[in-house]
């Protein structure tokens, strides 16, 4: 099994785990962590594709993309955490109830 295949499969698994977490876990923080796991899967996929076509050097574009992606993901996660915290402060709720 080639390395990049391991990478790819792992990335896929991570993505699925993350997605499952987003949908199935209840707690806000768990959901947020799940999105981060999803993100990790995606970035891993990018990184794995950096080694393609038996190039002698790694494709720089995915690396650049991943860095940007991580920034975006971190920003989102931070924002989400801030929201979760604020919600907890205001209402004491830690998970989604059916709201309007």
């Amino acid at each position: 099994m080639e390395t990049y295949q391991i990478y790819s499969i792992t990335s896929g698994v991570l993505f699925v785990i993350g997605m499952g977490g987003v949908f199935l876990s209840k707690h806000f923080i768990k959901k947020i962590i799940a999105t981060i796991i999803m993100g990790s899967g995606v970035f891993l996929a990018f990184v794995s594709f950096a080694e393609r076509d038996a190039l002698s050097f790694a494709d720089p574009v995915p690396q650049a993309l991943v860095i940007t992606g991580i920034v975006v993901a971190v920003a989102s996660a931070a924002f989400a955490l801030a929201l979760a915290r604020r919600i907890y402060q205001l209402t004491g709720e830690e998970s989604f109830t059916i709201e309007k």
Binding site: M19, F46, V72, F79, L83, R86, F96
Partner: protein, 511 residues
């Protein structure tokens, strides 16, 4: 890429709002609003200039810093982008005016939610960027900017309900983005390019392409709240402040639709099957019926409008099955293609205008009565003539009754449906229109009914009412340039090689 005229305008369209957004951060709250408003109006002006530019010169491009792709970024403003940018400017401009007055009245203490302005300008920049982007990753970045700004705007009021809705929105948006990004990774992995034009040429059918198509499509469907992923939209849109709701419903969701349209039409030519199109169409059809029905059953005004958005987005999804040729049909005989996609775009515009007006009017009513139960509309006609007129006109446009913009959109959609022979979508359009009429006239019925209490309406600033009405009237006035717009879209080189060319190749019949 070469040969297309360059223009600094695309860069300005993205850069200028960002600059202003940053600028506003430095001002006192009171001034912030003024600067923000001025910035918005200038951005709108810029957008109109850019629109005119494209009508004059055709597609224009800009490469910031002179770096060509793949290293640099190419901003490309074709007719489709120009139309979307123009729509954003029109609707955004009106909403800005409204927001300026509305926020001040809502929250006089802090000078009216001062953070609104930088966020909205960032959002605007993101939207412009999205419409101008020509590669998959740029699209990701811009849509992320849009999502985060949108969520931030949605929670602006700081109320618990808004926060929860916002978190739900944000999580959904992140999930969607990640799915999309995963698809982008797969595509890049198999082709080594992100450029839309290039990708369309080199993409080959295969498992990777299929998976990429799958996750990209589903991710974008989540972001545009296509059925069954509309779960985040009604809470988010209904809990936000009125101008924000209008922005979210009119503009933000259209971003994801824009990407989906471009990808399906341009990139995935080889991967898509007729049945897949039918499936998307089915999702759209269910959204139309379900969203309209839910809107009809609501007792709260803003939720009603939000559900209506779910339904209206369903109409946009319904153009996808029509754009995919059934087996054995050649593109030359498929005379419905151009009417369908231009009709879809036109529908986007008319919905944006009408829905914005609708949300703004709802905001006015809520401001006047203090709550958003539908009952509050009783005797609206007697007390707030302008707003009830706005609701009436916007509603009529949503239903798609002539002579509104919605009518032209529905006309073209229905014509596409009938010309393509996929008549089974027609009952959906009919039922959707009827249900839409159901909830719009439920509101109007109450508006004409006698009031239960005396003097239920507090006075509201006239500016707000006038802006809402102007938007509502615009949703009728856009009928006049309709012919021009549609010709403009049809005749221009869109999607790089031009949608006609892609469609003529056919998604299916070719291989």
């Amino acid at each position: 890429m070469t040969g297309l005229p360059t223009s600094p305008l695309p860069a300005l369209l993205v850069g200028f709002p960002i600059l202003l957004a940053i600028l506003t951060l430095f001002f006192r709250p009171g001034v912030k609003a003024l600067v923000g408003l001025a910035g918005c109006l200038l951005t709108a002006l810029l957008a109109f200039i850019a629109f005119v530019e494209v009508t004059q010169r055709g597609t224009v491009i800009h490469t910031p810093g002179g770096w060509d792709p793949p290293l640099g970024i190419l901003l490309r403003m074709d007719a489709l982008a120009a139309v979307f940018i123009g729509m954003t400017a029109l609707v955004g401009g009106f909403i800005s005016l409204y927001a300026w007055r509305y926020l001040r009245a809502q929250d006089p203490a802090t000078g009216g939610y001062p953070l609104f302005w930088p966020l909205w300008l960032f959002l605007w920049a993101g939207l412009n960027g999205l419409f101008l982007s020509n590669d998959l990753f740029n699209l990701f970045v811009t849509i992320e900017v849009i999502s985060i700004c949108a969520v931030a705007l949605a929670v602006l009021s700081g109320k618990a309900g808004a926060l929860k809705a916002g978190l739900r929105y944000l999580l959904a948006a992140i999930t969607g983005s990640m799915a999309y990004l995963f698809g982008v990774a797969l595509l890049y992995g198999s082709t080594g390019t992100l450029d839309l034009d290039h990708l369309g040429q080199v993409l080959e059918p295969g498992t990777t392409t299929t998976f990429a198509l799958l996750v990209v499509t589903l991710g974008l469907l989540i972001k545009m709240a296509g059925f069954p992923f509309h779960f985040w939209l009604p809470p988010a849109h209904s809990n936000a402040l009125a101008p924000v709701s209008a922005l979210l419903s009119a503009l933000v969701v259209k971003g994801a639709f824009y990407i989906l349209l471009r990808l399906w039409m341009e990139v995935f030519g080889v991967g898509i099957t007729y049945a897949a199109g039918q499936l998307i169409g089915l999702a759209g059809a269910i959204a139309v019926i379900w969203g309209s029905w839910q809107a009809f059953m609501q007792t709260s005004l803003k939720l009603l409008v939000a559900h209506s958005s779910v339904a209206q987005l369903g109409y946009l999804l319904m153009i996808f099955p029509l754009l995919i040729l059934p087996p054995g049909v050649t593109a030359d005989s498929a005379d419905w293609l151009s009417v369908t996609w231009t009709g879809g775009v036109y529908q986007v515009i008319s919905h944006a205008i009408a829905k914005a007006s609708f949300f703004l009017s709802a905001g006015i009513v809520i401001m006047a009565v203090g709550h958003d139960r539908i009952e509050s509309l009783r005797d609206l006609v007697g007390n707030m003539r302008i707003t009830s007129m706005a609701i009436g006109l916007a509603g009529v446009s949503l239903i798609g009754l002539p002579p509104s913009g919605g009518f032209v959109g529905k006309w073209m959609l229905l014509k596409g449906i009938l010309l393509s022979g996929q008549w089974w979508w027609a009952p959906v359009v009919v039922a959707g229109s009827l249900l839409t009429a159901g909830y719009v006239f439920m509101l109007l019925r109450l508006a004409f009914a006698p009031a239960r209490e005396k003097e239920p309406f507090r006075p509201v600033p006239k500016t707000l009412e006038v802006v809402a009405l102007l938007l509502a009237v615009s949703s009728f006035l856009i009928v006049f340039p309709a012919d021009y717009l549609i010709q403009f879209l049809e005749n221009s080189e869109i999607f790089g090689s031009g949608i006609e060319a892609v469609l003529k190749g056919g998604f299916y019949g070719n291989d």
